[in-house]
């Protein structure tokens, strides 16, 4: 059977299966296990209502447990093993000794510092600039658009910007064309320029994420009470003072949310590096290093150890998010 046809069948089966599961399980609960009639009608209804939430939750919890929670534990366990025997922290020791890991870790920190800051800053700038102008929505759409483009597609787009042709010929990459035109120097292979090339890869993610930051921050800016701005205007505040002293402090909470969300994305960045440099010229990052270990070197111990490093970097945000969620529920 053709996979596309198979997909349609699966959709039908999944939809039907889901509906059948919920319908039947509720039916069994109400009619067979705890019927709401006879001598124990009241007790049965209560019991059925105790169980029902778990019927609703069961498929989701099964998926979450099996596809997200269990793998965290399994990966942690695998990171302590080598050739099917327990070796303690040997994998971590081996990994820390590898220069490629140090490079990946350093680059990841660089990404963590630059990308969330730059994306949030550009997002805030775009949100503020487009806030009160007539064609603001079109502008927002266009800046938001890269969100729809895959990381790989974005890599192709930016690779053309960074393209270098031999000196003396016409440059077809925008960056080199500008560079040669302004400085008169020879064109540069931007992606092969250590340290700087990291920045050129980061630009791709900043380009994608700024739109996300803009959308959220624009909504937050709209939510600022008009009185606070008017009061500042009456007190003679200039536009920059209003922005930095009145508006930004009021949306600080949202800025933090945007910042952390982008941080999570940055920690998992993989496609861009794989597509543009594949970690050559000192651009390796943790997620791609991990992929190399898993699927090229087939070293599951060290690959798992690298995955655990990513997990460790995410954990503070995880804890913070959970803590916030708990606080809101009270």
């Amino acid at each position: 059977m053709h996979p596309a046809l198979q997909a349609l069948v699966v959709v039908a089966v999944a939809v039907g299966g889901c509906i059948a599961y919920f319908l039947l399980s509720n039916l069994i609960l109400d009619k067979v296990l705890f019927p709401a009639r006879g001598a124990n009608a009241g007790r049965n209804t209560n019991r059925a209502n105790l169980i029902r939430p778990w019927l609703f939750l069961f498929p989701a919890l099964a998926f979450l447990g099996l596809y997200l929670a269990y793998p965290v534990v399994a990966t942690a366990w695998m990171s302590l093993q080598r050739d099917n025997s327990f070796v303690g922290f040997e994998n971590y020791r081996l990994m820390f000794a590898e220069p490629k890991f140090g490079e990946s870790f350093f680059n990841n920190i660089l990404w963590l510092v630059v990308v969330p800051a730059a994306s949030t800053a550009f997002g805030l700038l775009a949100a503020q600039l487009t806030d009160r102008i007539a064609w603001g929505n079109i502008a927002k759409s266009l800046i938001f658009m890269p969100m729809a483009i895959s990381f790989v597609g974005a890599s192709v787009i930016w690779k053309l910007v960074y393209e270098a042709r031999p000196a003396g010929t016409d440059q077809i990459g925008l960056l080199n064309a500008l560079y040669v035109w302004v400085t008169g120097a020879d064109p540069v292979q931007w992606l092969q320029l250590p340290l700087w090339n990291n920045l050129f890869l980061m630009v791709v993610l900043i380009w994608i994420q700024s739109g996300f930051a803009m959308v959220i921050l624009a909504a937050a800016l709209r939510g600022i009470p008009e009185e606070t701005v008017e009061a500042a205007v009456l007190d003679g505040a200039g536009p920059f003072q209003i922005f930095f002293r009145i508006k930004v402090p009021q949306i600080a909470g949202t800025i933090v949310v945007v910042w952390t969300t982008i941080t999570i994305t940055v920690l998992k960045v993989f496609d861009i590096v794989l597509a543009m440099t594949n970690g050559q010229w000192e651009t390796q990052v943790l997620a791609n290093y991990m992929y190399d270990k898993f699927f090229r070197a087939v070293d599951w111990g060290m690959g798992s150890a690298a995955a655990m490093i990513i997990m460790a970097l995410v954990t503070p945000i995880l804890v913070w998010n959970v803590w916030n969620a708990r606080r809101e529920m009270r």
Binding site: P3, C18, F56, A74, I157, Q171, N321, R326
Partner: protein, 378 residues
């Protein structure tokens, strides 16, 4: 007062101009690739895409003259065309050292009394007092201005006659096969769970919500090997079933979180009234909550569709690498590796792969924005 007004309008101008500059900065990279995808390979490497509408002055590949000679008025003549019509010669030469030695129409004296002239339209006349049958024919280097040329051929090439194992039409279908079930299944599973977490009272509910929030940020990198082992163990191995399940698992936390946040905001009265009227939870869910939650469902559906369509990592790990299972992003990465310099192929392939997400994005942007706001603003 007028001074203040003047400063104000200056500021307005500054805002408009900087907003415009920002938009330009964001659009130009994509525009570059889009324009390139409609140019011929020669044109792409000959000049920057921003010069695509202008005539292109470039040095054409050297042409070795040839043809039948004709005896005319005591001289032997060979006539011909350097290239097909359309281009205009601005300079030409007979050696690679001085490729622009002569102007069009000028006469070059070659050895042995042989003369050569090249006209503006690329026509050349080679004449000699004696027969040229034994002569080694000269090469001509011409610098010509070619008119802009736009074509759909690149798209035709990548769709209809791809390289072996690089069929983008097939990859398109494969991506669709991955994305649709991977979008629908998590919605179904999540909607019920979200309802339970929003509107049903049971011990441990707060803990479960915290659990879901925690899983929101767990990197899926950790899940790859354990799940691959699990899939091998239950016998489905690498394939579509595996990737559908994986995408479902990875998409669930966001789905549950978004839907619960939305459902909890529904008016309490409606649900309480229905309960009082004797409706069961199942009825309340399917008849009231689900229809009212349509905007949230749509938001998540768009997210998940974009994410599964654009995903590379999950597809690399859970799908096979054969032609019948390669997705668009994987196809594109392979092209970047094997044909990194063939921009006409790369740009057209990239645009085929981002076309569907862009259409979804521009037509359903409203829901996407709403989903983003519900998902992160507190």
């Amino acid at each position: 007062m007028s001074q203040i007004a003047g400063r104000k309008s200056g500021l307005v101008w500054a805002v408009h101009l900087s907003a415009f500059a920002l938009v330009l900065l964001w659009v130009i990279p994509t525009l570059g690739l889009l324009v390139s995808s409609f140019r011929t390979g020669d044109q792409i490497v000959g000049s920057g895409w921003w010069e695509a509408v202008g005539t292109q002055v470039q040095q054409l590949p050297a042409v070795r003259l040839g043809g039948d000679e004709v005896a005319r008025d005591g001289v032997f003549v060979i006539e011909g065309q350097l290239f097909a019509a359309g281009a205009e010669v601005s300079a030409w030469g007979t050696s690679s050292v001085a490729p622009e030695a002569y102007a069009p129409g000028a006469v070059a004296d070659l050895d042995g009394g042989v003369t050569l002239t090249v006209a503006v339209d690329g026509g050349y006349v080679l004449s000699s007092p004696s027969t040229m049958a034994d002569l080694r024919m000269p090469r001509v280097f011409a610098t010509a201005a070619t008119p802009p040329e736009f074509t759909f051929e690149n798209y035709g090439t990548v769709i209809a006659s791809p390289l072996a194992g690089q069929s983008i039409g097939q990859a398109f279908l494969n991506t669709l096969t991955v994305a649709i079930p991977a979008t629908i299944i998590p919605i179904l599973v999540a909607a019920f769970a979200a309802y339970a977490l929003a509107w049903m009272e049971f011990p441990g509910r707060a803990l479960l919500v915290a659990f879901v929030v925690g899983l929101l940020v767990v990197p899926l990198q950790l899940a790859l090997i354990p799940l691959l082992q699990f899939h091998n163990w239950i016998g489905i191995g690498k394939g579509y079933l595996g990737i559908w399940l994986a995408h479902t698992g990875f998409g669930l936390p966001l789905a549950i979180y978004l839907l619960r946040n939305y459902m909890i905001g529904l008016p309490r009265d409606i649900i309480e009234n229905a309960r009082v009227d004797g409706a069961t939870d199942f009825q309340i869910f399917t008849r009231i909550v689900l229809p009212l939650s349509f905007p949230a469902l749509a938001s998540f559906a768009i997210f998940q569709f974009l994410w599964t369509w654009n995903d590379l990592l999950v597809a690399l790990v859970f799908l096979g690498t054969g032609n019948d299972q390669q997705v668009l992003t994987g196809n594109l990465v392979n092209l970047m590796g094997s044909r990194g310099g063939d921009w006409e192929i790369l740009s057209a392939s990239a645009f085929v792969s981002i076309l569907v997400p862009l259409v979804v994005f521009f037509s359903l942007q409203r829901f996407l924005v709403r989903g983003l706001l519900a998902g992160s603003v507190k």
